[in-house]
């Protein structure tokens, strides 16, 4: 997650709330990617007739390739967003509705 730095250093023994916040955002982001990968690869690889409870050979192979491909797409899109400038890319987000 190269978009996310880790907050500054923490006083010994204390909790740095910004570090916690960053870690939670990172966790939420990974979980979001994971859930979308599960959903996309389910749509691409799993037959919805459900005649069987097991993944068959074809489905299993498809899942493995799907994960690899989805990750590659994630990388490509991330690079594109960084090249283009994260600022421009988020045009239309909350920031554009406010004068702050």
């Amino acid at each position: 997650m190269s978009f996310l730095g880790r907050g500054g250093s923490t006083p010994t023994g204390g909790v740095n709330p910004e570090r916690i916040d960053m870690a939670v955002t990172e966790l939420d982001t990974v979980t979001d990617f994971f859930n979308r990968m599960v959903s996309s690869c389910h749509a691409k690889c799993i037959s919805t007739r459900y005649a069987d409870a097991d993944l068959n050979k074809g489905e299993s192979v498809c899942i493995d390739r799907c994960v690899a491909k989805f990750s590659e797409v994630q990388k490509k899109v991330g690079e594109k967003l960084q090249n283009r400038g994260a600022a421009a890319a988020s045009a239309g987000g909350a920031g554009s509705f406010t004068g702050l």
């Binding site: 955002t25 996309s40 691409k44 491909k69 899109v77 991330g78 967003l81 987000g93 909350a94």
Partner: protein, 91 residues
Amino acid sequence: MDFSNFNAAEQAQMSKIIEKKQMQDFLKMYSNLVEKCFNSCCNDFTSKALSSKEEQCVMNCTEKFIKHSERIGARFAELNAEAMNAAQTPS
């Protein structure tokens, strides 16, 4: 949106909240984009590598989606400005 009636302390807190929301919106847009472009562009799972055709499709999809969002954002801002002017004009 208009926070001009907020005092300095409230504006400062809103700025922090908005900054955090922008980060979250950006990350959500990123994962949404990955899902959308993957679903549109990748339909061949006989290989685990992205073909050059798929990669081109993903790049076009990403670029086009950003331009699409920017255009919507511009039109949306115009509409909101009109609505705000209409609300402030005595009738």
